[in-house]
């Protein structure tokens, strides 16, 4: 019996085998989607670049030679240099770490928060639902960047505050999605059955309701990554995100703006990075959605 047969077995012998089997099927379906694989490759690239930034970057991201300022792309500086003579490639590589940190922190804060609010509102209904969803609507009615701006203005500029601000602006969407998802199966008999077994409300929500909302939330978060990166870059561009000399992509574009006509590469190179990484998350999220769609789950 090959590993593949073992994974695809209809009669797994252990819990572990059953779980690995499910994961293998997901991965297999995902691998059949070429665009999702392109997205996956981009995200993997981002992860590797961020992990090995100090070794990959040819120069220091913060120290430059003023004699070499605003050099066009060449063999010594593949992406050219900026107004302080810093190597843009090195800054973009180090910037991957900042972008990844922001994206992951925002996802880790906002997705569970949204999931919790949405499932609780959807499951309990009544006044709990009205209060929680009213709150959600208030946050949802404000444009994300404007809301983030307001929070950063209140909390003060900096990466940590930018993360908090973006997370506060991002969770309502997940709450809405999770609630809508809960409403589709709220009356299902498997929830009646678990209630009849005497399960506590906490247990029902955490172990029976949330897992069913998980896949749509994961898909949405992945698709939102692009938006989060852009919001972070926007804050950076406005000078409210990462502070100099940190090589944050948005901040780099902001500084390059002054030279956009004569030294295009200063603003364009980090712009490329933002576009490519955003695209990667979008493609991967699209693929995930196709695979996690419950209608497709039943296929062998």
């Amino acid at each position: 019996m090959t590993t593949r047969d073992w994974l695809l077995s209809d009669d797994p012998e252990t819990r572990m085998q059953a779980r690995l089997g499910v994961a293998y099927r997901l991965a297999r379906d995902l691998a059949r989607n070429p665009l999702a694989m392109v997205g996956f490759a981009i995200i993997l690239g981002l992860l590797l670049v961020a992990a090995f930034a100090p070794w990959l970057a040819p120069y220091s991201p913060v120290e430059g030679e003023l004699a070499n300022r605003l050099q066009p792309p060449s063999w010594t500086h593949w992406m050219g240099t900026d107004e302080l003579g810093r190597d843009i490639l090195s800054r973009v590589i180090h910037g991957a770490r900042i972008t990844l940190t922001i994206v992951l922190l925002v996802a880790v804060i906002s997705a569970p928060l949204g999931l919790l609010v949405g499932t609780v509102a959807g499951y309990f209904g009544g006044w709990v639902d009205r209060v929680l969803m009213g709150l959600t609507d208030i946050f949802l009615s404000l444009p994300r960047l404007v809301l983030a701006l307001a929070f950063v203005a209140a909390l003060g500029p900096g990466i940590e505050n930018a993360v908090i601000a973006i997370a506060i602006a991002a969770w309502p969407v997940y709450a809405r999605i999770a609630r809508a998802e809960v409403l589709t199966f709220k009356g299902a008999e498997f929830l009646d059955a678990i209630r009849m077994q005497g399960a506590s409300k906490l247990r029902i929500i955490a172990l029976h309701v949330m897992p069913l909302c998980m896949s749509s939330t994961i898909v949405r978060v992945t698709l939102d990554m692009a938006g989060i990166i852009l919001t972070a870059a926007g804050l950076g561009f406005l000078g409210l995100g990462a502070q100099p000399p940190l090589p944050e992509w948005g901040a780099m574009i902001s500084r390059g703006r002054s030279f956009i006509l004569d030294q295009w590469w200063v603003a364009t190179m980090p712009g490329f990075a933002i576009v490519i990484v955003s695209l990667g998350f979008c493609l991967f999220g699209d693929g995930l959605r196709d695979v996690l769609d419950p209608k497709q789950r039943s296929r062998g």
Partner: protein, 241 residues
């Protein structure tokens, strides 16, 4: 084992049950028969603690009086109509059967789950399958197994075979009958299907518009001798279409 006295249930302004009373002895199999809207399922839900009771009293199992949800779970469990909707789509059979044991902190989960799979006639190799890998009849066996995990004396059956194929219905009915004999269970069956009552039950109550119009033994059903006109109408409709 089950005592229902003057039970009334309201949904908003409409009263769906009017002073319903009946008793089911331990080990007896009792059927509630009627059309949709007759309130038969509502009685089941009231006994399961899923709808608020507007008046009257309910007593269930060995204990009397008000019960916590956890205590009630040890007394009564339910098998639902739709085997596709009553199992959590993302949990394996093992998860579904272990859950009641986890909730009630019972030991020996592995042994109990395997023993229960044997009891309901499911192969042990199905243990880690997901519901979508099972047929309708197999899912209904899982639902029955789940209901029996806590060894409750009373089982509520809500049209347990009406969503199944004919040949599968026979298997599930046989299984229910065997389990009742082995474990001395008390059944309360809700159905619109008189032949199923004839096979599985000892007595029945006929409901119409939230009231019991007649109570009879299964012999009366087999002989087609109902006292009420509505009972005879139901019988005729089954026999002659």
């Amino acid at each position: 084992m089950i005592r229902v006295e003057d039970l009334s249930v309201r949904f908003g302004d409409t009263q769906v049950l009017h002073d319903v009373s009946f008793e089911v002895a331990a080990g007896e199999s009792f059927a509630l028969v009627g059309e949709s809207g007759s309130g038969k399922s509502t009685i089941l839900k009231a006994l399961a603690g899923q709808v608020p009771v507007a008046g009257g009293s309910l007593a269930l199992g060995d204990a009397a009086g008000a019960m916590t949800a956890k205590a009630r779970a040890r007394q009564v469990q339910m098998v639902f109509q739709d085997p596709y909707g009553s199992l959590h789509p993302r949990r394996t059979i093992d998860d579904t059967l272990s859950e009641p044991l986890l909730i009630h902190g019972l030991p020996d989960r592995d042994t109990r789950v395997l023993a229960m799979l044997d009891a309901v006639g499911l192969p042990r190799r199905f243990r880690f399958r997901l519901p979508h890998q099972l047929s309708g009849g197999q899912r209904q066996r899982v639902a029955i197994a789940r209901a029996l995990m806590l060894d409750p004396p009373v089982l509520l059956l809500d049209e347990p075979t009406s969503a199944l194929d004919v040949s599968v219905q026979a298997e599930i009915l046989n299984l229910l009958k065997s389990l009742r004999e082995e474990k001395g269970l008390t059944f309360l069956l809700v159905t619109h299907d008189l032949p199923v009552v004839s096979f599985l039950c000892d007595r029945l109550a006929i409901l119409k518009a939230g009231r019991i119009v007649e109570m009879a033994g299964v012999e009366a059903l087999r002989a087609g001798q109902f006292a009420s006109p509505y009972g005879r109408e139901l019988f005729d409709r089954t026999v002659h279409g």
